[in-house]
Amino acid sequence: MDKKISARNVSVIYRGKFNQEPVLACEGVDLEVEEREFVSIVGPSGCGKTTFLYAVDGLLPINTGEIRVNDRPVTAPGADRALVFQNAALLPWRTVWGNITYGLKLKGDLNQEKVSKVENLVDLVGLKGFENRYPSQLSGGMQQRANLARGLAVNPDILLLDEPFASVDAQTREKLQLELTQIWARTQKTMLLVTHDISEAVFLSDRVIVFSARPARVREVIDVAIPRPRSLETKHSELLQEYVQRIWNLIELPS
């Protein structure tokens, strides 16, 4: 197997807080992600897509089956993956720079060379000049930029994105989506995105995986044959809308 990520018959039992009833979030999920591919997972709200993403990151144990990343089974979070969180989840007591370098600092791996790489990264995500701000002094969009940079800073093979643009306003979201395609092209990372925004999924992805309602299974895999590079015109093109319509029809609305 030379897949970047492969999940076979994965079920995940999610236990929220301590002493809370467990929930079967995913059941029998099979999927594969190729190297440098951009894959999105969409599905009805609360179907367990985020839970699945956490399992790929190694934050949650899986109940049955196996998730392999770089052909090694996932047992815990590792340096080959980084998660971009839904609510930015920047540590409020650290500056933007402190947040972006957090992963490197934990590893004691912040040498001169890394510092200049992170400086480039800060520039890439458009946060130059904001390094010394605290997260509370940033707009939602800027926070998500920092969130993204924090994930990229540890130079992972795979970036796992959990609805990263869900909480920013519509205009900023479109802009960030466009930037993400460019970052993806430049950094050549494998990206796995979870989102409830279908047009976002189509716009960004090579393939869109549609999950069923909980417990989540793979309902359909859709190849997105829209040429790259994609622009904002692509976003509003008829071709993209056709994909959106097709996927929309596949999503089971929770009763």
Partner: protein, 273 residues
């Protein structure tokens, strides 16, 4: 690598446009002004009630007497001995209380098992008025600085400890995930997530602790000391010298204000987030 951001990033700078009216001083210093009016008003009513004979000068003194006495008393070596003694007791007591509160509190919040085990015990001890232990502490350590500091520590440790427990216990799940996702070790989780996230809780607890520590100091000095402002107040009041007693009370109040201001300063300086 240049920025891929398609347009320059816009921030919200504070722009002062010439020609716009400035904030009126009555608005800018609103709380300060009316706060001053409150204090002066209170002192005037107090002075008038004493002068008019509404209250007995023998028992309450008057603001002017207190101020005159303060000028006489504060530079005197006799008073300074008491002031320094109280300051020492307060300083060491608070320092030890904060240290114990944090060092014991954070692990008790961080480890769910420890938390479940010790919370009832702490709630129990916290519920007992520490003054009830005064005779016991006198039996243990006699009368002197040690027993006074024990009382101060006892009175002040719980707000810091309980807040440290809560702080370490209620760390945002998102932050914990961030740490775990970047493969933080348990020690790193504690020092880079739990500890900084608890600091605001600890400082809030410290504010409460300061008030309790001052009460503890005075109580200790009433009963187990021949020094300190508490002892001084007791001594003077018993001989109906109200002005010196009130001076000592004011000094205690100033201690409290100074210490709370220090906490505010620390908050503004280090917890700007």
């Amino acid at each position: 690598m240049s920025s891929i951001s398609s347009e320059p990033v816009v921030t919200n700078p504070v722009v002062t446009v010439p020609g716009l009216p400035p904030i009126p001083w009555s608005e800018r210093y609103f709380r300060f002004l009316w706060g001053s009016v409150g204090i002066v008003g209170f002192l005037v009513i107090w002075q008038v009630s004493v002068v008019s004979g509404l209250v007995d000068r023998l028992f309450v003194s008057s603001p002017i007497d207190v101020i005159i006495t303060a000028f006489r008393l504060l530079p005197s070596r006799d008073f300074m001995v008491h002031l320094i003694s109280t300051a020492q007791c307060l300083f060491w007591g608070l320092l030890i209380a904060v240290f114990i509160g944090i060092v014991v509190g954070l692990p008790l919040g961080w480890f769910p098992t420890l938390n479940a085990m010790f919370e009832p015990v702490i709630a129990g001890i916290y519920g007992v008025p520490y003054i009830a232990f005064l005779p016991v502490i006198i039996m243990w350590t006699g009368i002197g600085m040690t027993s006074r500091i024990i009382i101060v520590v006892w009175s002040a440790v719980f707000p810091v400890m309980i807040n440290a427990i809560q702080g370490a216990r209620e760390v945002d799940t998102d932050y914990l995930r961030v740490g775990r996702s970047f493969s933080a070790t348990n020690l790193q989780m504690f020092f880079t997530i739990a500890l900084p996230s608890s600091v605001p809780y600890i400082l809030a607890g410290l504010r409460t602790s300061i008030g309790r520590a001052i009460v503890g100091t005075v109580v200790a000095e009433f009963f187990m000391s021949s020094r300190g402002l508490g002892y001084f107040i007791n001594l003077k009041a018993n001989s109906l010298e109200m002005a010196p007693a009130f001076v000592a009370v004011v000094v205690l109040a100033l201690f409290g204000i100074a210490l709370v201001s220090l906490v505010t300063y620390i908050e503004n300086r280090f917890c700007t987030w």
